[in-house]
């Protein structure tokens, strides 16, 4: 039996997995499933059949692609997931709690490589959630990167005409 914390997007699930008579018994919240699990050949695809009891012939069929970064695509919808052994997760929780406190700065990063065509705020400026901070050109289109929350612009690290890479910090909000 193993106990995991699974993060799916911004949600957290506690999932217990036990090997049981050739199958898997999975407890999530207060529900129990018996799972027939198959890893498909030739593609990073998983197939699960979720059964209501250990002897059941079948149940809900779930097919899901899992990419290398741990993103799952149930029903084709991309969901970032992270699996942690429950004890490690608990430790992390404690560490985070210590770090906590509101208003930590948020970095606005380039979601793809591109060319900065416009900067929509300057350091010191108070902005609302949704305010366009930087406009980035990529794939023949202008893409607006906006403030993820209300705050004050601490830093703008790019200027129009500048090429930026994926993940590069464009602005910092606090």
């Amino acid at each position: 039996m193993a106990d995991y914390v699974v993060r799916v997007g911004d949600r957290e699930f506690r999932v217990a997995v036990a090997e049981e008579s050739g199958g898997l018994k999975v407890t999530v919240r207060d529900e129990v499933f018996f799972i027939d699990f198959a890893r498909l050949e030739a593609e990073p695809r998983l197939s699960l059949i979720l059964k209501a009891g250990p002897g059941a012939a079948g149940g809900v069929s779930v097919e899901v692609v899992r990419d290398e970064r741990g993103r799952l695509y149930p029903g084709g919808i991309p969901l970032d997931t992270e699996v942690l052994a429950a004890r490690l997760a608990a430790l992390e929780q404690v560490r985070r709690g210590a770090e906590a406190g509101s208003g930590r700065p948020v970095e606005v990063k380039a979601p793809m490589p591109g060319l900065v065509v416009r900067v929509g705020a300057e350091p010191g400026q108070a902005v609302r959630r949704g305010h366009v901070l930087v406009v980035l050109q990529a794939m023949k289109m202008e893409n607006e990167l906006s403030a993820p929350r209300d705050g004050t612009v601490r830093d703008v690290r790019v200027r129009p005409g500048q090429a930026v890479d994926h993940g590069e910090v464009l602005a910092v909000l606090e």
């Binding site: 995991y4 407890t27 809900v60 779930v62 919808i77 794939m139």
Partner: protein, 502 residues
């Protein structure tokens, strides 16, 4: 096929290059691909009989490089070039360069491209043949002229930058006292965006629907139309969902719009396939918008309801063939929808989402057609338009077409880049869309992402945990020892029911 080309070069990439390759095959023509350095492994390169390297990724060094393309057409012995859409498809200089090089440009003649394809020339043409335009100023206006014209055409009006598009420098004005400040703001935006503060003014049609008419003209004077397409589901002037017929067009309006479109194409001396775009107001009055002098992304919906292969027709018309049917032979059967799959994140303001395609399943089965340039292992880069593929669904009626489209979207799996597939699923399930009640403001007004259903989250959590649990571990310490979780007895009813009612 007699007198048709034996070899055609396709000056494009992605799904439209694949689409043109298929039309060539159907005509017994050998298709020749061109590609930029990042497209070496692309599907169009592999499906063509021959492939030639254009140059580096940037479009102006590859897919927009007129000289290079013509040189390669000569090398390959291609008698004609199909430009697809975008890139050089409406470039009159390219059409002229082809003519000079003795190569057939599969599209309208250069003069028709200029007369119909350029916005102001096309408006002049429409005016001349009596097709209604959106009331407004003829061109740039002073502040005083704007006030006077607005009074004449009635509010609301819209101010637009004369030098550009894409919504920049645009302002909607609902009463005379808002006009001065709106003009000031629009001019300032236009100046900073385009270096030119000229603006013009037009009646603001609201709610507006975007309806366009497909036209085919042969070189022997015959022009017919193939009915309309509705393309009102768009964001920032980028179409996302199209259909034919339009839910708001009846046979009388279809005939009227068709005649208007034909009048413009005839006046332009147009040959080949083209589209006339209209804005339709809430009173079902229509106004000329522009001519698209090329094949359009959304052409398949017309193909599915009329049975006519538009790209095959383009090639035959460019070779001088006559249209084999008359207006009366064009019969729309059933209903067709198209959903464009973009590498964009619909939950994050449609930001481009490049990346490698790590798993792929394209839909199939009754009523479904997929026009795609996608392949497993593909690296979607930021160099070009983010459209990956199109799903087209046909049904005996709109209801059946929607049901089949939803089934296809649910089958469609693209892992790697985020795509607009979840957006389409949500729109097609929206009762407003299903009732045909939408306009060009639909996406801006209603789209705010969709929450992921709780059962999918649970499924993902279970799958992730089981996958992790069963995966061979490199570091042994990573896998925890037996835990202490207290198990409840088999409590399954609630969740079970939820999971089942998918």
């Amino acid at each position: 096929m007699n007198g048709i080309f034996s070899r055609v070069l396709i000056a494009n990439r992605g799904e439209i290059a694949v689409r043109v390759i298929r039309a060539c095959r159907d005509l017994g023509i050998s298709p020749v691909a061109v590609y930029s350095e990042v497209d070496r492994q692309a599907l169009h390169v592999r499906l063509a009989d021959e492939a030639y390297l254009l140059g580096p990724a940037p479009a102006r060094e590859s897919y927009l490089n007129i000289e290079r393309i013509i040189e390669l057409a000569h090398q390959a012995g291609a008698e004609a070039i199909h430009p697809g859409y975008g890139f050089l498809s409406e470039n009159a200089e390219f059409a002229e360069a082809c003519a000079r090089a003795g190569i057939v440009f599969i599209g309208p003649p250069p003069e028709a491209l200029r007369a119909a394809g350029e916005k102001t020339a096309a408006k002049e043409l429409a005016r001349r043949v009596g097709v209604p335009l959106v009331p407004g100023s003829d061109g740039p206006v002073s502040d005083e002229e704007a006030l006077w014209i607005a009074g004449q055409i009635g509010y609301p009006v819209v101010i637009k930058a004369a030098a550009g598009g894409g919504g920049k420098g645009m302002r909607i004005v609902r009463s005379p006292n808002e006009l001065p400040s709106a003009l000031r703001l629009a001019r300032s935006e236009a100046l900073s965006a385009f270096g030119d503060d000229s603006v013009y003014i037009e009646k603001y049609i609201d709610p507006a629907r975007h309806v366009e008419v497909q036209v085919l003209c042969d070189a022997h004077g015959k022009c017919i139309h193939l009915g309309e397409r509705e393309c009102s589901i768009q964001r920032r002037y980028q179409k996302l969902i199209e259909e034919s017929p339009s839910p708001i067009v009846d046979p009388a309006l279809r005939a009227e719009m068709g005649e208007a479109a034909l009048a413009i194409f005839r006046a332009a001396g147009y040959v080949n396939a083209g589209t006339c775009e209209f804005i339709v107001g809430p009173d079902r009055k229509f106004y000329f918008l522009e001519v698209n002098a090329r094949i359009q992304v959304e052409h398949p919906v017309t193909e599915q309801v009329t049975g006519i292969d538009l790209v095959v027709e383009q090639i035959k018309l460019a070779a001088g063939y006559r249209l084999e049917y008359d207006q009366k032979d064009i019969i729309q059967r059933g209903w067709a929808l198209e959903c464009r799959v973009y590498a964009e994140d619909p939950d994050n303001n449609f930001l481009p989402s490049p990346g490698q395609v790590v798993a792929l399943r394209e839909p199939a089965g009754p009523g479904i057609r997929v026009d795609s340039g996608l392949y497993l292992g593909q690296r979607v880069t930021i160099d070009y338009d983010p459209m990956l593929s199109k799903v087209i669904a046909w049904g005996r009626d709109r209801r059946e077409a929607i049901a089949r489209m939803l089934r296809a979207l649910d089958e469609y799996e693209v892992a790697g880049p985020k795509t607009t597939i979840p957006f389409h699923r949500a729109v097609l399930r929206d009762p407003r869309f299903q009732a045909g009640e939408f306009d060009t403001g639909y996406v801006a007004r209603h789209w705010q992402g969709v929450p992921v259903p709780e059962d999918l989250l649970v499924k993902a959590a279970v799958a992730a945990a089981v996958d992790f649990h069963r995966r061979p571990k490199v570091v042994t310490g990573e896998r925890p020892a037996a835990g202490q979780v207290q198990e409840s007895p088999w409590k399954v009813a609630g969740r079970w029911a939820a999971l089942r009612s998918r």
